[in-house]
Symmetry: C2
Subunit: 199 residues, 2 copies
Amino acid sequence: MGSKERIARLKEETKQSILEAALEIVKVDGWQALSMRKIADKIEYTAPIIYEYFENKEGILLELTRQGYLLLKREVKAAMQTETTPAKQLEAMWVAYWNFAFAHREYYQLMYGVEMNCCSSRDSFHEPSQTINLFYDKIREVMQDENPDEEKVCRKHYTFWSLIHGLISINLVKRGVAPEMNNQILQDAIKGIIKYIND
Amino acid sequence: MGSKERIARLKEETKQSILEAALEIVKVDGWQALSMRKIADKIEYTAPIIYEYFENKEGILLELTRQGYLLLKREVKAAMQTETTPAKQLEAMWVAYWNFAFAHREYYQLMYGVEMNCCSSRDSFHEPSQTINLFYDKIREVMQDENPDEEKVCRKHYTFWSLIHGLISINLVKRGVAPEMNNQILQDAIKGIIKYIND
DNA sequence: TACATTTGTCTAACACTGTTAAACCGGATA
DNA sequence: TATCCGGTTTAACAGTGTTAGACAAATGTA
């Protein structure tokens, strides 16, 4: 009775095709454009059969997240194996992580909760620049250099900001990060940054 | 004819009440729970009148984003004024930024596109830990210390990760950041981190 | 005062969304 | 032949953002 296995394999195939269809839609039109009916259209079925393969829409997202983590691991591992010394390896791994985020931005967005819906143009605001200027000014003051290179000031701030924004994002998305570690990192980061400004 | 101004003031009031209602809903149930009809319910009107005050739902979000930036600027500025030396000021400003993100998480999420919908429990995955372990191992190798403190390894990695994740997030959400600066920051960060591991 | 026009508000509807229950229909089984 | 069962679809529900049309009350005008 190999037919049982055959149909099981077929089921697995359409399950995969659902995931692929979802990913295609997202790649073209973004996460907010993903709908059950569009997936169904793409695999030439009607929407309800998807529920034979996944509990609900979130089930699909969960599975894609899992795939994303697997893919990321593979790429990081591969990058590691291109180098020999630990320092070079670590560097290559982070570059791979970086590249993954842009090569598979849909995955990265899903995995780490980055901008999945809303507000098409978050640029075109002038308000943020007011706050940024406060920081720029202060960095200039901290720098001993009399005529600080504007590009350098910008880069310092951007580095700062990335670190703290990253810390915040991770905390907002994933609960249960030890708060005392957050504080220590935040303190370390701030101290480090201020020192780093006069490198 | 002061009545013109009176009704203009009234209109402005209900416009504000719409924004307040939206914020209340979001504070309690998150961004994905926000709907025009719920806002209307809260201000005791029906949904269509909201379109007299805002072009559409995104118009509301845009205005809230603007308010968020203003609020952030105020708090950063206030923090700055509690200190006198530039270094202390810069430190206080970043702490204020950090505090803002958690005191007004709805605003921060909206402003910087952090996890506004989807995937209730992104925890409860074991896949991410596989990748994290790759990094942990490598950090341990880079550390000269024979018996590295586990908490220290974790903290180093977390710092790394925050910086790079922050860099990525900003790039994914806000387009138009100079790519050459990204590269320089990424390179600087990675070099700096590796040095910093053996502090 | 009588009529006209504007203003505020609501109802109803459209086209979507995720999800479920019921019907249907073809093929394997008794 | 009759029965059951699995895969599939249709129809529906409740919810979403958004728009057009109706209706009444307030206002302006003759």
